[in-house]
């Protein structure tokens, strides 16, 4: 015990208390709610939104690793998502009959592709300047989108690919109903996605607390100093890019599993990148938990905002301009985005943490005179 430094003792304490903290209980309750949702609500729309929120939480969190923890602004993260989604779709589509091995094959292909792409991007762009990274990734992501649209023989372009899943994930699979809920392929897919995304999220939480993650944050905060301390900052940044991109491609596989259909517009295009940026900014950069808030907010809004259009049509049937205003709900996201970047740059979770922290520091001086 004696040769532990203060940081180590603090971490040890953190480790001991990790099951007693309120956050742990909240996490458990959260997972329990997700586990039981399909039994209480049979609405497909709700389940669909929940699954999309889970997948996008993982995707956004992987983006947060790059942007919030690494300080690396990538505008091509959707490319990795698309790589994952397309590898599952293409493997199953070109093999005709779906089999279990296809999952492994797709995972392998997507990981190999995304790791090599991430390495190429990192080596090309990080050599020069941080802004370069943003431009390069944007250009490459656009290129991937174009490739998917142009290469008809492989990807079926805008028509997209629909495919079936093997075994218990198949739509036609169903077993006896338990407690009133029907056990079918959709439900199994739901649980599979839930388990995998929780695992991926835990891996990411672990990553930011690992020595590598801590160095990464140091590089973000003060690169010259991290260099001076003897860390090869370039290596850590490359590792973060590769790691974040791999997780994004795994999230892409999950997304393809749920949709059973891919086309460039749904998994690869710039609107997805915009969505992810919105989510990460609204949730809070460098918080990881913010991705849950951001993804929920945007996905729920996306699911129910189009109803606004119907309302507008009913209320103002003859005013085309009002209908167009209601139709373009992305406009409001854009305005919200600008406002959040301006006034709450730390996002929802970051701002909430600031408020809690400031309350604690305000409370202290009051206590001190009594002592």
């Amino acid at each position: 015990m004696t040769n532990l430094n203060p940081v180590q003792t603090e971490r040890l304490q953190e480790r001991r208390n990790r099951y007693n903290r309120p956050t742990f209980i909240i996490q458990l309750v959260f997972i329990a709610v997700l586990l039981t949702i399909p039994f209480f609500f049979s609405s497909f729309r709700l389940i669909d939104v929940v699954v999309k929120v889970m997948i996008f939480t993982v995707f956004v969190a992987s983006y947060d690793l790059l942007l919030g923890y690494g300080g690396l602004l990538s505008l091509g993260h959707s490319m990795f998502f698309g790589i994952g989604a397309y590898s599952l779709a293409l493997v199953i589509y070109h093999a005709k009959t779906p089999a279990w091995t296809h999952f492994l094959l797709a995972t392998g292909i997507s990981l190999a592709l995304s790791i090599s792409m991430a390495l190429v991007i990192a080596f090309f762009s990080l050599r020069v300047k941080a802004l370069f990274f943003a431009m390069m990734t944007l250009a490459l992501a656009e290129f991937a989108d174009i490739l998917a649209i142009q290469w008809y023989d492989l990807t079926k372009a805008e028509d997209g690919i629909s495919f079936g899943l093997p075994g218990i994930f198949n739509v036609s699979w169903s077993a006896k109903s338990i407690m009133g809920a029907e056990i079918n392929g959709r439900l199994m897919t739901y649980y599979f996605i839930l388990v995998v995304s929780v695992i991926l999220f835990i891996i990411m939480l672990r990553f930011i607390r690992s020595p590598v993650g801590r160095v990464l944050q140091a590089v973000r905060d003060n690169e010259p100093r991290a260099t001076a301390l003897g860390y090869k900052t370039f290596h850590y940044q490359i590792f973060a890019i590769v790691f974040g991109s791999s997780i994004a491609s795994l999230a892409g596989i999950l997304y393809a599993m749920w949709l059973r259909y891919v086309n460039p517009g749904s998994v690869l295009s710039t609107p997805i990148m915009l969505d992810v940026l919105l989510m990460v900014i609204i949730g809070g950069l460098g918080t990881l938990y913010g991705s849950i808030i951001g993804a929920s907010f945007i996905k729920i809004a996306e699911a129910w905002l189009p109803d606004l259009q119907k309302v507008a049509q009913e209320l103002l049937p003859n005013v085309v301009f009002a209908q167009r205003l209601a139709e373009r709900w992305i406009l409001y996201f854009g305005i919200l985005f600008i406002l959040v970047v301006f006034f709450f740059p730390r996002g929802f979770v970051g701002t909430a943490r600031d408020i809690i922290k400031s309350r604690k520091t305000v409370a202290k001086p009051v206590e001190v005179p009594h002592d």
């Binding site: 090309f124 050599r127 802004l131 431009m135 940026l277 406009l331 600008i338 970047v341």
Partner: protein
Amino acid sequence: MMLTSSHAGTAEPTAIDLRKWGGRILSIGVWILPLIWIDPTTYATLTIAGLTMGVLLFLTASGLTVIFGLMDVLNLAHGAFFAWGAYAGFSFLNILSRKGWLDMATLGQSMGNLALVLLLALLVGGVLGLLLERVIIRKTYGNHLKQILITMGAALVMNEIIKIFWGPNDEALLVPAAFQDSWVFFNILVTKFRGVAILVGVLVYIGIQLVLQKTKLGIIVRAGVENKEIVQVMGYNIQRIFSGVFATGAALAAVGGVMFSIFNGHIYPSMGDENLIFALIVVIIGGMGSVTGSFLGALMVGLAFNYVAFLVPKLALGVNIMIMAIILLIRPRGLMGRS
């Protein structure tokens, strides 16, 4: 940051020469190489098409590169100015056609119409640019992340507003009558508009160069690219210069939008974003902050796109990325980029 720059300084002189010449050889090779596979007449037509596309790209890229060089702002809303220019031009051309001006068939009259439309686009782009700089971008100087996010958000909002006013669909553009004819030199067909576009592009390039090299304003801007603080110390209002440069860049992008939409014959809301990608590639190839670099880069991209579109149509859109990768391998800072 400091470490990388010192590395560049200590590189061996032979390596620097190789990099310099590699870039030059590549930029000449891109002109000559296609002659192996394409017969000369087609080659000439393709070259003219490529040059047209190149100068049109330059119109957007020039603003982007100067804004980046002077203000250190990566303006992702640049594509939105492009689209706004195109849509403003579209509406104005409609008005002109209702007056019957577009049907006048002489080249002079068409040029006059074009000049009017371009003037309007300049105005729209300039005002929008000024507004965006004053209201939003001014508050984010020095914070790259915030800038990129803000300009991205601004682009999103501006594109959505286009969809509200003009609708989300493709619209066909009315083109001044004389531009649809063409000249014939030695069996080579040159659409008149292409000639005009090349002329406009080259004039804009010469104009920018003259302003930057010969006027006092240009000297201040160039000095600002080198060192902002010293310019401020000398007593110049750098804020005002920033606004001016930003508005000019936006206006040029809007002009580019009009020219491009006449070139293509139709407009659509996402045209700005697509063009922004091209312009970004051009700026990366040319070296960020260099006008001449982006001119060369734009011509290179335009030519390569047309040659490859003729030879291997499927590769056309990917060839730009390939050129960018090759250039970056040889010269990590672009053709004319400085460390």
